[in-house]
Structures are given as C-alpha cells and as structure tokens.
C-alpha cells in the first residue's frame, strides 16, 4: 500500500527493495504521487524530475533483478537542495540569476547518490543562494512548515526539511553554513546533521561562504540520516578541503545508541534570555532523558559563543561578496540590459541589480564594507580572531566532555512574514548553530518533542569534536529511543495522518 511506503523509514525501504518485496519504481511512483498531491500546499520542491527519477528507479530494479549487490539505500528516493549541481537538471539556488540554468556536470554528492542507486526525485526550495533562515528569500516560492502551514520551515534548507515532514521524500540533502541543515531540522521535527567541515565534498555545490559551507544528510530517523551520511561522505580529490581520512563509523553509532558513561556538557551560554520557555522545557527534559540513559551530564561554559553571531555576520558576508562575483552575466546565467548601449560593466551592474534579491544584495554590501580598506582590521580581522576564540572554547570544552548539547534554535518556527523585515531578528535564529560552523566540528539536530505553547517541534543540538561525527549519531539515537513512547515512532509520525492518505 502506498501509505506504508510513504511512512516507512529509508532503511526499511532499502531492505524491502533489496529483498525484491518492493520495486524501486513502485516506491518512486508513490513519492511522485505524494508530491503531486501535497506540494501545492507545502511548496517544498522547485523542480520535480519525474522522468529522470523513473529512469533511475527502473535502472536500479534492472541491476537488482540481475542479481547485482547494491548498497543499503539502493532504490530509495531522495530530495536534493537546489544548491547542488546535477548534470542536465535545472539548478537555480532559488535565484532569478540562475533561472533555467542546467549545469554541464554533477556535484560529487549527487554523483555519489546516483552511484549508490538512490533515486533523485527533484530539487528542493531554499533561501536565495542559501542566504536566510526561513526559505522566504527564495525568488520562486515560500515553503510552508508541514506542522502548521502559516509557519516557516526554517532555512536555508526549508524545502528539504518540509519534504521530509510532509512525507514527500524519505531522505533529503542539505548544506549548512550557519545552521541551514540543523535549524530547518529542528523546526520541522526532523533529523539534520552537519558533518565535520571537509567531511562531505563541496565540489559542484554552489558556494556561499566557502570556509563554512558543508553538505550533509536530512532524514526523519537517526539511522536513516547515518546511512545517507555514509553514502555522501568521504574524501574527494575534486575538493581540496576534503578530509583524506576514513568516514567516522556513523551507522554503527546510530544502530548502537549506547551512551553509558558518555560525558555530556550543557553549554551555559546557549540558553536563558531570548530562548522560548517551551524550547527550554523540552531541552531540559531531553537532557534528563539522556542522563537516565546512562550519560554523565555537566554544565560547561563557552564564553566566546556570545560573540559568534557577530563574527559570523562579518566572515560569511565577506566570503559571500567574493563568491558572488562570479555572477557577472558573461558566461552563464542571466544577462539583462544588453541593448547595445551599455558596456560590459554596465550590463553587469544592471544584471546583478535585476537578478539578485534584497538579502543577497545586503550581504554582498556588508561583505564589501567589512573587507574595504580602513575597516578590514576592525571588522573582518576582529571576526577572524573571534573565530580562534570560539575554536579554543570548543577545545577546552572537549577536554572535559565527549559532546556538547544545546537547544538547536532559540525559538520554534515563527510565522511566515514575521521576521522578513527585521534582518537582525532573522539572523538570531542561528544563534546556537553558528559556533560549530566557525570551528568546523560535527553537529546535528534531533527532535525532542513539541513546545506546549504552540505545538511546534523543538530540536536538541549535539556538537562533537572534528571527525567524531559518530558521537553526534550515538547521542541522537539514544535520544530517539528514550523519547519514543512504546507504541510511537519518531516525532514526524505524529503528523503522518495529516499528510498521508490511509
């Protein structure tokens, strides 16, 4: 039955496809039908590649029928944030400046998905060039939160998270520069992990801030996220910042979930003023559940985390202003105003004015300012020093504990439009997630119930040292088990009846 396919875990779908109880094509058709049925309300997708998905699924079925052994996720559909190049498939970064662009090559992440037999359903919505925390800066559509359609699904990867919560895909791919995997995961009740910087290749991912950007997995369960992590992670010679070392044992950790004796530090600075009571309540309960599951919990201070947001909103725009220079209207993408009277430079200025949205322009201007002579030391230079101080805070904390935890976001999902005209309020959505991008360590967000005030999901963030991504999954799995009622599964199961026709 289609409903069973839509609500199954990716791990189960993979197992049943491998056992030939289900065909990849049947599973793919079920998700394509679900997208067709609900995406007019959710707006998770910018492009659905129905034909391509069917062809990929049929090819996987043929290989499996021929007796070929494929990986555990072969035949399982996945939705990909529209920041990843996929050869021949429209890739827009949710910007008008790339409308209609079809990349001539695929990103390493997409290539690894295809090589492992996963079926790419299509490209999901995001904030324009991943710049935003609500998916509202997309030039094409506003994605809605499947828990409450009046609310935002987080950002920038709101499309990927919403697709999971509305059962339009069992797996999704995101990128995380300041929290764009974890914050949407938290506010939609799904799992999102930012691997250690360099853990998954950035090759073919449209760049935002290159020293911070990191692709990662999104799923409804911890094990599903780990299985997807294993597919996309690992050294890639095409990305010079890719780590040349074995992928941490994330799947084993997710299957185990044993945290007996694990030392967990609660970050003192990530709580209190500005944090909603419902978020703090569920976070405290989750920490108590982890303690009951055998962990040792202590409070840890990371005094410079308070400065992380400021440093991030200098370093990130500085890198943005440099990365965005490539949209010059000459080789690909939009060109406007080329009427024969304008020079190359004037066409460039005109095209960027027309093709880029307000938030992208704002960040380019801030970055240009922070890097300009006379201001460089005070802004960019100081921010780089704060980055050092944040990394030192992490080092000192990881001398005392194995992982750190905090709420993943200070608030639950806010209303569509609520913060769009107040950039600073929007930026504060990423208060808890930014430090791990600055230091490059692994971090993930895991569902820990809903806030009593509004019934919206709350996420707990786990932060682990670089290359200890497995600890993130170990704690996530322990939490998932501790919070599941005997007859209930994961958090999104609570809205399954709303989105899946029986």
């Amino acid at each position: 039955m289609a409903a069973d396919i839509l609500t199954a875990t990716a791990e189960e779908l993979g197992r049943r496809i491998a056992a030939r109880e289900l065909t990849a094509l049947k599973v793919t058709e079920a998700f394509l039908a679900q997208i067709e049925r609900v995406d007019a309300d959710v707006h998770a997708f910018l492009h659905v590649d129905a034909e391509g998905a069917r062809a990929q699924a049929a090819a996987v079925d043929a290989r499996l029928d021929a007796g070929e052994e494929l990986g555990p996720l072969a035949g399982v559909p996945v939705a990909v944030k529209d920041l990843f190049c996929q050869a021949g498939v429209p890739t827009t970064a949710a910007s008008k400046i790339l409308e209609g662009w079809r990349p001539p090559y695929s990103s390493t992440v997409v290539q690894r998905l295809l090589d492992a037999g996963l079926v790419v359903l299509g490209k999901t919505n995001l904030d324009e060039f991943a710049m935003g925390s609500s998916t509202e800066t997309s030039a094409y559509s506003t994605t809605r939160n499947p828990w409450d359609l009046d609310r935002i699904p987080g950002g920038s990867g709101g499309g990927s998270a919403a697709a999971l919560a509305a059962f339009e895909a069992p797996l999704a791919i995101g990128t995380d520069t300041g929290g764009s995997i974890r914050q949407p995961g938290a506010v939609t009740g799904t799992v999102g992990v930012k691997p250690t910087y360099g853990g998954a290749s950035r090759y073919g991912v449209i760049a935002m801030a290159s020293s911070l950007d990191q692709p990662g997995p999104c799923a409804r369960t911890v094990l599903d996220a780990a299985l997807l992590h294993e597919v996309i992670a690992g050294h890639d010679p095409l990305d010079s910042t890719s780590i040349d070392a074995p992928v941490p044992p994330v799947v084993d950790a997710a299957r185990s979930g044993d945290i007996t004796g694990l030392r967990i530090g609660v970050v003192k600075e990530l709580g209190g003023e500005g944090y909603e009571p419902g978020v703090e309540l569920r976070f405290r309960e989750a920490v108590a559940a982890l303690e009951a599951a055998g962990a040792e919990v202590v409070e840890v201070s990371c005094p410079h985390f308070t400065y992380a947001l400021g440093a991030y909103y200098l370093i990130m725009p500085s890198e943005v202003s440099s990365n965005m220079a490539r949209y010059d209207a000459m080789r690909y993408g939009l060109r406007s105003g080329d009427d024969g009277t304008r020079s190359t430079e004037e066409v460039m200025n005109h095209t960027r004015a027309e093709g880029l949205g307000a938030e992208v322009k704002r960040r380019i201007i801030i970055g240009t300012y922070a890097l300009s002579s006379g201001y460089y030391d005070a802004y960019y230079g100081s921010a780089q020093k704060v980055r050092t101080l944040i990394a030192r805070d992490f080092d000192a904390a990881f001398d005392q504990v194995d992982v750190l935890v905090s709420p993943a976001t200070p608030t639950t999902a806010f209303l569509v439009g609520e913060k769009l005209d107040d950039p600073l309020a929007m930026y504060k959505s990423d208060l808890c997630t930014i430090p791990s991008n600055m230091a490059g360590n692994a971090a993930g967000s895991f569902p820990c119930g809903t806030a009593p005030e509004d019934g919206m999901p709350v996420g707990l963030q786990v932060m682990a040292p670089p290359q200890a991504d497995d600890r993130v999954y170990r704690v996530g799995a322990a939490l998932e088990r501790a919070l599941a009622a005997p007859d209930a599964g994961v958090l999104t199961d609570r809205i399954a009846s709303r989105w899946v026709e029986a």
Binding site: R102, P104, Y105, Y197, G198, S211, P237, T241, I243, H304, Y307, L309, G310, A311, Y313, L314, S321, A325, D328, M330, R331, L334, R335, D338, R342, S343, T344, E345, E346, M348, N349, H350, R352, A353, L356, K361, R362, I364, I365, T368, Y369, S372, A378, Y379, G381, S382, A383, Q384, K385, V386, R387, L389, A391, P423, L424, Y427, A439, G440, N441, P466
Partner: protein, 98 residues
C-alpha cells in the same frame, strides 16, 4: 557609525550592483543596525589572538599534471547568454570615453 546612502552607493558600485534610490534609502539604516550589532567582535579581539581563516589546518593539495577530460567547447558555451563563433560574446569592454 551612521552609514549614509552615499556610503552604500559607493559600496554597491564596488560590488557591481545598481541600487535604486529607494533601495539605498532602505538599506543604509538596515546595514547600520547590523554593523552596530556585529561590532561587538572588536571587544574581545585582542592583539595577541591569532586570526583563523579556516577550520582545517590547510596545506596545498597537488595532483599529477596529466590531461583529463573537461567540458567540450559546446558544453561550456551551452549556458552562455550570448555566443558567437565558438566564443562568449560580451558587450563592449571600453566606455564611451575609452
């Protein structure tokens, strides 16, 4: 600090973006608020703290200098806004006074 509309116009010109008068009016006070908020970084950025540009201890990465397949000319030009004789066609480079 007070960033003026003229300041923003100068930055926009450096960043190669035509901003309209109304965009400049709106953006100047917005940027002012943001810059004031982020300026706190200088409070703790003491002279003895080394700057960090990257999370990884980066070293240069080399690969063997061998020919490998790349894009064909046709592929490279496929998404060009304008192409002519196998090349990107661009508007004139020099200004009127040039």
């Amino acid at each position: 600090m007070a960033l003026t509309t003229d300041d923003v116009a100068r930055l926009a010109a450096l960043a190669r973006i035509d901003l309209s008068a109304s965009e400049l009016e709106r953006m100047a006070p917005e940027l002012d608020i943001i810059l004031e908020a982020v300026a706190s970084v200088s409070e703790v950025a003491d002279a003895d703290v080394p700057p960090m540009s990257h999370a990884l201890p980066l070293t240069n990465v080399f690969r063997p200098d061998v020919v490998r397949p790349g894009l064909t000319q046709e592929q490279a030009l496929a998404a060009a806004p304008a192409a002519e004789e196998g090349r990107f066609r661009v508007p004139r480079i020099l200004g009127e006074e040039g």
